[in-house]
């Protein structure tokens, strides 16, 4: 048994580091928050998902504000793909009620490991300039600023990317995470969008996607104010510190590895606890 003030302090400190690591590695804070709440503090997974979702909206909106102003975010592409992510998020939040919590824990672990592996991948910057009729019709092709002037790019495989975004939305709604890694995967590997654009546009979409499932969870009583308060404030402050550090250092290579090890450990714990039915 723990008093409210002690739990709040632990949550605040834990969330701060979750936000810091999430921003340094690009995986997002939710990945540490849900295991911290469920495995360490024995909070029911429904409350954990609710609190994580709130922190996801705070960090993505906060950082999207900065990126949008730099003109890297492709707003039309984001808007178009948000059809798929919000519809997916709605479906995810609606089916979450009917899915046993231990299955949710196992799924969380699997997505966690997949995202960690993807974050370690080497990122080769490629600029696609093939013509695509659908991308042209939808005005998805654009340009982004570089030190050597604006670079034009085109978008490939619009349908495939749209479908993958729907899946990312379902996962986000089901698990209460931003699923930014899946969104970047859809835009990077399927739609061949330059890495800088896909990262910022994915971040831009995460807030709306999370809001589409949060409106369901809010009414279902998953979002507890006492729990969400330290989590949202902690993750946001951690993410802000993380973005400050990123500007000053370039050697986040070793940090990615540390995080990958931590994340894999957490994922295995979530899967194990899911299997023995403790979550």
């Amino acid at each position: 048994m723990m008093s409210v003030i002690v739990l709040t302090l632990i949550l605040f400190i834990g969330s701060y580091f979750a936000g810091l690591l999430g921003s340094l590695t690009g995986l997002g804070g939710g990945f540490v928050i849900i295991p911290l709440l469920t495995l360490v503090l024995h909070v029911d997974i429904h409350y954990a998902i609710g609190a994580s979702l709130v922190s996801v909206i705070a960090t993505s909106s906060g950082s999207a504000a900065a990126y949008v102003k730099e003109g890297i975010t492709n707003i039309r592409l984001g808007m178009f793909l948000e059809i798929a992510t919000t519809a997916g998020a709605m479906v995810g939040a609606l089916i979450a009620v009917y899915i046993p919590t231990n299955f949710i824990a196992i799924l969380f672990g699997i997505i966690l490991i997949t995202s960690a592996i993807m974050s370690l991948r080497k990122k080769a910057e490629l600029i696609n300039q093939e013509k695509n009729l659908l991308a042209e019709k939808l005005k998805l092709n654009s340009s982004f600023p570089t030190p050597n002037g604006p670079v034009n790019y085109t978008v490939k495989n619009v349908g495939g990317g749209f479908f993958m975004m729907g899946f990312a939305g379902i996962i986000s709604g089901l698990l209460g995470i931003g699923s930014g890694a899946l969104k970047v995967l859809a835009m990077d590997t399927i739609m061949r969008i330059p890495f800088k654009v896909s990262t910022t546009t994915s971040n831009f979409m995460i807030g709306v996607t999370a809001a589409a499932s949060a409106v369901v969870y809010l009414q279902r009583g998953y979002i507890d104010p006492g729990l969400s308060m330290p989590v949202a404030i902690g993750v946001l402050l951690g993410a802000l510190s993380g973005s400050k550090i990123l500007v000053h250092t370039n050697s986040s290579g070793w940090l990615r590895w540390v995080f990958a090890v931590v994340v894999t450990f957490l994922a295995v714990q979530m899967i194990y606890n899911g299997f023995i039915g403790k979550i």
């Binding site: 909070v43 709130v54 059809i83 519809a87 709605m90 939808l138 005005k139 807030g207 009414q219 946001l236």
Partner: protein, 133 residues
């Protein structure tokens, strides 16, 4: 990209980006301040209570509906104030979508007016389905 001369005062993509950035920043700043203030009141009043989140039992009635939250704000209940801040935070990206729609109207981009309205309809459907469930 749009390359209109500055004298031609039309609404452009860069203007929309500036407005969107401004809305997101303001929304996060405002909602986080409200959550913080509510948190201070909540901890001052209930800091010594025993926290129990081990089993899921929903949230207290006075933070579950708009009427209860409004009532709670007037009577200075910390949890109600936090919940109001959280609702504003959730509304922030949705407000961003509404402003994008206005932006596309000013740009006369009918395709994207349609796409933006579709996204808003999906969020509304989600809101209503959560209410029914």
């Amino acid at each position: 990209m749009n390359k209109q001369p500055m004298s031609q005062k039309t609404f452009r993509d860069t203007d929309m980006q500036a407005v969107i950035g401004w809305i997101l920043r303001l929304g996060v700043l405002l909602s986080m301040s409200i959550i913080f203030i509510g948190g201070v009141i909540y901890l001052y009043r209930h800091g010594q209570a025993i926290a129990n989140y081990h089993t899921f039992k929903g949230i207290p009635d006075f933070v579950h509906n708009i009427h209860g939250i409004l009532n709670g704000i007037i009577t200075f209940r910390g949890q109600a104030i936090i919940q109001a801040g959280i609702i504003l935070l959730i509304a922030t990206p949705i407000i961003r979508v509404i402003f994008s729609a206005i932006g596309f109207v000013l740009e006369k981009d009918y395709l994207y007016i349609g796409i933006t309205i579709l996204v808003l309809l999906i969020i509304m459907a989600s809101m209503l389905s959560g209410h029914a469930g």
